[in-house]
């Protein structure tokens, strides 16, 4: 499984890491839904830390797609809220 963290790089994770990763990700979403900024910060940081701890960095010269894309470290609580309610924050990558 390939995970990209924006403003960082891609990481290769073993398939068995998907489940624990998903659990943390769900906690991030729950915190956003509950309007709990402190919990969001803690869980989101944990999410990125998990990928960096268990993942093996993919070389810059490898051109491969990711299975999961994660926002950058400084992704704010307000931005996370927008990601779920609005059209999302990610601009068109190709037809921009």
């Amino acid at each position: 499984m390939i995970v990209r963290i924006f403003n960082d790089r891609q990481y290769r994770l073993d398939e068995h890491h998907y489940e624990p990763l998903n659990v943390i990700d769900d906690a991030v979403v729950a915190a956003v839904d509950a309007g709990d900024e402190q919990q969001y910060r803690a869980k989101f940081d944990e999410l990125l830390a998990f990928v960096r701890e268990h993942g093996v960095p993919v070389g810059d010269e490898d051109l491969i797609g990711s299975d999961v894309l994660l926002p950058p470290d400084d992704f704010s609580f307000a931005e996370a809220g927008q990601e779920f309610t609005g059209d999302g924050l990610v601009p068109d990558p190709a037809d921009a």
């Binding site: 924006f6 403003n7 991030v28 810059d60 797609g65 990601e83 601009p91 068109d92 190709a94 037809d95």
Partner: protein
Amino acid sequence: MGLGGRMSNTIKAKLSRVLDKAEDPGETLDYSYQKQLENLQNVKKGIADVVTAKKRLQLQNDKHQQAMLKLDTQARQALSAGQEDLARTALERKSAIQTEMQSLDTQITELENQQQALIASEQKLRTKVEQFRTKKETIKAQYSAAEAQVRISEAATGVGESMAEVGMAMQRAVDKTEGMRARADAVQELEAAGTFEDLTQIGGGGEDDIDRQLRELGSGSQVDSELERMKAELGTGSAPAAELEAGADGAASAEKAPQEEREPGA
């Protein structure tokens, strides 16, 4: 996956729309590459826009600085003329502008960092696009149509994600700049209304919207102490102020005044 899943799906949907436009692998390759080059141009243009906006904000901050000096002078003049209310209004406006300036300074610095990061990302992206160009020739030469299609999608997705990454960073920088500009414009309106051409006109007049807004900003104690300091400098004494204020606040600020003189922004 919630947060990550939404982002992934959004980007993949957009990428596949682009890739689906071409039919055979060779065409897909060339089309993707062409799109990548266009995007690189857009990134370059976007960075230039951020730089321009940042410069404009810096200019606005320079104007704020001038307006503060002018308001300070006007407060002194008003006080010399015995118009304490007018002096207070000028100092309140000065204080509001000062607060905004400090916030703008911080944000301009942040924007500068983001700009540097964007330039680095653009370089990285340029390298990726170059890799894609090399790879597409290899794929064209080595693989059957069906397999080439798979490998092309993979490579194009990899580059496309990098594009999205830079695109998002750029969008955030632009959003931030726009927010800052709106604020700076608002402060500039304050300046326009706040620097008085004719001191006598405003002296006894009523409160306008801006006066009320300024009062709400709660810069009262800072203004009080500055007023006391000016009075001391002008030799008008603090007795009349004590009567007017009739509060412990004014007296306390007056005692601290000499110390605060060194750091008016504190």
